[in-house]
């Protein structure tokens, strides 16, 4: 399964193809509000048909960046190019780009149908065609039964789909989504994420989504740009972001992670040995960073990459940390263990509960050993 997944991925990676022209290009885009720099010198290429996520905590500038793409804000510096043409000075109502607002921003005095038809009417499209296109898109978002309703007669999920339909009906070159699922409850959100992906795939429109929910970004995106304080920290596929974060910030923002401090003690052929007082052992890890002997490094370990055991490993060269079970969280499919190392550091590990019963389950205050393979840890510099 992994192999076939890899193949599909390989087939479509326009960002790795130097022949491919980017659909949207941001060149050194900066936005200042007075003394505050909301977006700081961002350069970014987004390709046609991508489902691109801008991910970051609130206040990181992701919404400002989206609003600049829509034309509600003008960059203080830099250029935004859509299909090669500069968007500077083009007002929102002349851009071939549509936006889905966080509040949905439905017109309260119009029915679902008229809401959706609004954008087409602005383009002076003949009535017959408007009706046909509205019907198509209403069917696409499965709202046929509610076409005559007013927004306040709809539930949150239905409103969300009206907002989506209204933005899609104009067949924009790019659809911008500002926290589109933020107002939905968890179950509905998970379901809607897949609906969004299906719709995006069906229409082939470039989607740029702003979100603070890392799980959502991981689920829907072809690529994610992780943002912090107006800058982009890393742009990569969900898989790369998770397995090869380029900084402690990204490692910590996406998923759970244990960060262990250490110093490079030996640079070997294809491996790095790191002495870490915190873990109480010498760590051997795959060489991934040009760090001289003595440099301070951090090792990021995902909880699920650690194996917990009550027996010390036979091979003394195995990466291993010893400690005491401090807390256990039983989630059904997983169990989360908080292990207090001898140094006092707390390490989280997650184990899949493969069997229904075990003879001697690991319990509180047990002495346990956490082991991991040399390629499981990510070595990070500053």
């Amino acid at each position: 399964m992994a192999a076939s997944g890899q193949e599909v991925r390989k087939k479509w990676e326009p960002w790795n193809d130097p022949q491919e022209k980017p659909h949207v290009q941001l060149v050194g885009v900066t936005k200042r509000f007075g003394d505050f720099t909301a977006v700081d010198n961002i350069s970014l290429d987004i390709y046609k048909g991508e489902f691109f996520s801008l991910l970051g905590p609130s206040g990181c500038g992701k919404t400002t960046l989206l609003r600049m793409l829509a034309g509600f804000e003008q960059p203080s510096q830099g250029q935004i190019l859509l299909e090669g043409s500069d968007m500077a000075g083009v007002p929102p109502y002349r851009r071939p780009v549509n936006m889905m607002f966080q509040s949905y921003a439905l017109f309260p005095h119009m029915s679902v149908e008229t809401n959706i038809a609004f954008g087409l009417k602005q383009d002076k499209i003949p009535k017959g065609e408007i009706a046909q296109r509205v019907d198509e898109v209403i069917e696409l978002v499965e709202l046929s039964a509610f076409a005559k309703r007013k927004p306040h007669q709809l539930s949150g999920g239905q409103r969300q789909r009206v907002a989506l339909a209204r933005a899609l009906v104009k067949k924009p070159k790019m659809l911008l989504l500002d926290e589109p699922l933020g107002a939905l409850d968890k179950k509905l959100r998970a379901q809607t994420q897949f609906e969004l992906m299906n719709i995006q795939e069906k229409l082939g429109i470039t989607f740029v989504i702003v979100t603070h929910d890392q799980e959502e970004a991981m689920t829907v995106s072809t690529r994610i740009a992780v943002m912090d304080h107006g800058r982009i920290v890393q742009v990569a596929t969900p898989n790369e972001i998770y397995e090869y974060p380029n900084s402690r910030y990204v490692a910590g923002f996406i998923g759970d992670v244990n960060i262990i401090e250490g110093r490079v003690s030996e640079v070997g052929e294809g491996y790095l040995a790191i002495a870490s007082e915190q873990s109480g052992c010498s760590i051997r890890t795959r060489h991934a960073l040009d760090a001289p002997v003595g440099a301070a490094v951090w090792i990021a370990l995902r909880p699920e990459k650690l194996v917990i055991s009550m027996d010390a490993p036979a091979d003394t060269r195995t990466n291993c940390m010893a400690g005491e079970v401090w807390d256990i969280g039983y989630l059904g499919n997983l169990s989360i263990y908080h292990v207090k190392l001898d140094s006092g550091a707390m390490i989280t590990t997650a184990q899949t509960n493969r069997t229904r019963d075990t003879d001697r389950p690991i319990t509180w205050e047990d002495r346990v050993y956490l082991t991991w393979t040399p390629d499981a840890g990510i070595v990070l510099g500053q």
């Binding site: 936006m99 439905l106 609004f118 007669q153 709809l154």
Partner: protein, 273 residues
Amino acid sequence: MNKGLSWFTWSALIVGFSFLYLPIILLILFSFNESKLVTVWGGFSTKWYVELFNNQGLMNAAWVTLKVAFVSSTVATLLGTMSGVMLTRFGSFRGRTLFSGMIYAPLVMPEVITGLSLLLMFVAISWDRGFATVTIAHITFSMCYVAVVVQSRLATFDHSIEEAAMDLGCPPGRTFFAITLPIILPAVVSGWLLSFTLSLDDLVIASFTTGPGATTLPMKIYSQVRLGVTPEINAVSTILVGLVAVGVLVASVISRRSEANRLRDERLAVAET
């Protein structure tokens, strides 16, 4: 529920309401009085209403008042809505507080001063006082009421609705008429009604700014009362009270019903998901 009401509560209620409504009830009662003497009951009759409609002076004044009220409230609504929109949309600029304060100031300005200053201005530019000057004066003081009503509605208005319209290809000007105005229309209408009633019952400012041939109903009533109250005045006042009561009733019924409909619709939508 009534068990809890003591004699004290009842008497407080009765005293309170009689304090508010006894004078008006007396006025209405005596408008149906047969006798010409205002304070002596001479049997039921509607003859004063008939007389009223034959009283050319009162009818003219009523017509003038309606015209002034209609024109002034319409223009005031236009100007007031514009300033309300502007105050919420412009964001912060230098002197904004002063600016909005200046729009609200006429709300608390003593009427005598407003009237006097308007009179001085009309005299200074030697504009003959009459229908036009009264109308302008009424626009001046009722415009700020509209601005306040519209502005408070816009304060809770989701700005992204306008952005959505622009995003869908609608230029700003058209957005205002297609999206913003329909949504704030109830506030605009109530602003219009408010300035209509303000103009209808204004006596002070009208007396300062009016001229020959443009006597409003309140002025007419006031001047007639100085010569003694006639049952005709009672009759015209009763009609005014009736009009206002009907207006208030209709307005509250409409708003209550739309609110009930909205709640019902929302419950319906939630039940279906």
